[in-house]
Symmetry: C2
Subunit: 209 residues, 2 copies
């Protein structure tokens, strides 16, 4: 198997961190170009036109960072990063979905609707131009603020987002916060629990990949 990757992008990073935490070694194929686009060759091969994508030896293409990670979890269960029993797995799944919709997608909305390099790329994965909507800037900032505060509350009495163990919910949260930094947005000063957690998970070797 191999991973089609755009090394600087936030969604591929979710998978980089997952793979590092598992201690796996899966070949990467870089498909980003120096024009901040995916290569034409990749888009022809994979019209969904997003990264990361895992190609199996039989040619099956699996997209979506967390669908790939869950597939790898079935093959390599230790250490468990999706929870340990049905209830724990449900809590991890719930928090990972929340941070994806409330953090990752908000950070993406903010970046794509403000960055001059992404003019006409207001949404991912589209071949047609999608104009930026400046009115989304304020809303995306509000979304990010709600995300910061909700997750700060969640971390008030827990070491990790989904409880006692490091999981994929932490991976997506870290990637969402670091994606926010692309638009100079940082964790508010008064979100002390989230800041403590951020320092902890950022210090893990997996965060460096």
């Amino acid at each position: 198997m191999k991973i089609y990757d755009w090394h600087i992008a936030p969604n591929p990073r979710r998978l980089h961190i997952y793979v590092a935490e598992k201690g796996l070694n899966i070949p990467l194929v870089e498909v980003g170009t120096d024009k901040l686009t995916l290569s034409d060759e990749y888009k022809a091969k994979y019209p969904h036109a997003m990264v990361p994508m895992l190609e199996l030896d039989d040619g099956t293409c699996i997209g979506e960072a967390m669908a790939i990670a869950r597939y790898l979890e079935a093959l390599y269960p230790d250490p468990p990063l999706f929870g340990t029993d049905p209830k724990d797995r449900a809590i991890v799944d719930m928090w990972e979905k929340r941070v994806n919709e409330e953090g990752m997608l908000a950070a993406s909305e903010l970046f794509r609707n403000t960055a001059p390099t992404f003019a006409d790329r207001g949404l991912p994965g589209s071949a047609e131009p999608i104009p930026q909507i400046p009115e989304l800037t304020k809303r995306a900032l509000e979304r990010m603020n709600r995300f910061f505060n909700k997750f700060d509350g969640q971390l008030a009495d827990k070491p990790f987002v989904a409880g006692e163990r490091y999981t994929v919910a932490d991976i997506t949260t870290l990637c969402a916060i670091d994606f926010g930094k692309w638009t100079d947005l940082d964790i508010p000063e008064d979100c002390k629990n989230l800041r403590r957690w951020y320092d902890d998970v950022s210090a893990r070797p997996s965060a460096k990949v």
Copy 2:
């Protein structure tokens, strides 16, 4: 266990259909009000303020329709609605995530930013007013159009969204399309594969719940 439900809403419907397909019987607690809001009592109990939510007998609250469904899948594996082996499960997971982000969230964006009854409720789950953004109407329509066409293509040579079997990817796709109808949007005439599939899955008894 019991499910906190807002019976008319699209995300709870994903779980209704899942539960019906599994043949389960789980008590429902209606928490929608006739003002098209969640009850104050529910929001006080569950500040995340979204539905559906599964409460376990030990008081654990699990949110997010598909996190709940996956939890139920672990308890009641037959018939399998999340795939049958790691690769098949990954393909189901990928398509379910796609339809959630490209269909459900697009339909939600369209509805919340146009419906007069949802003025100041541009996003779900917020206690503060979130003004509608009229510019999102056009973009959301484009998103829905891309969604219809992508899924029409996917269904050209397959009976169901993720392949040979009915799965949660079909459930979310059905709910996204029917959510689009809230804003008078229907499957384009030329999306014949998607229309054929829609008629098939809408005829299942589970679609009536």
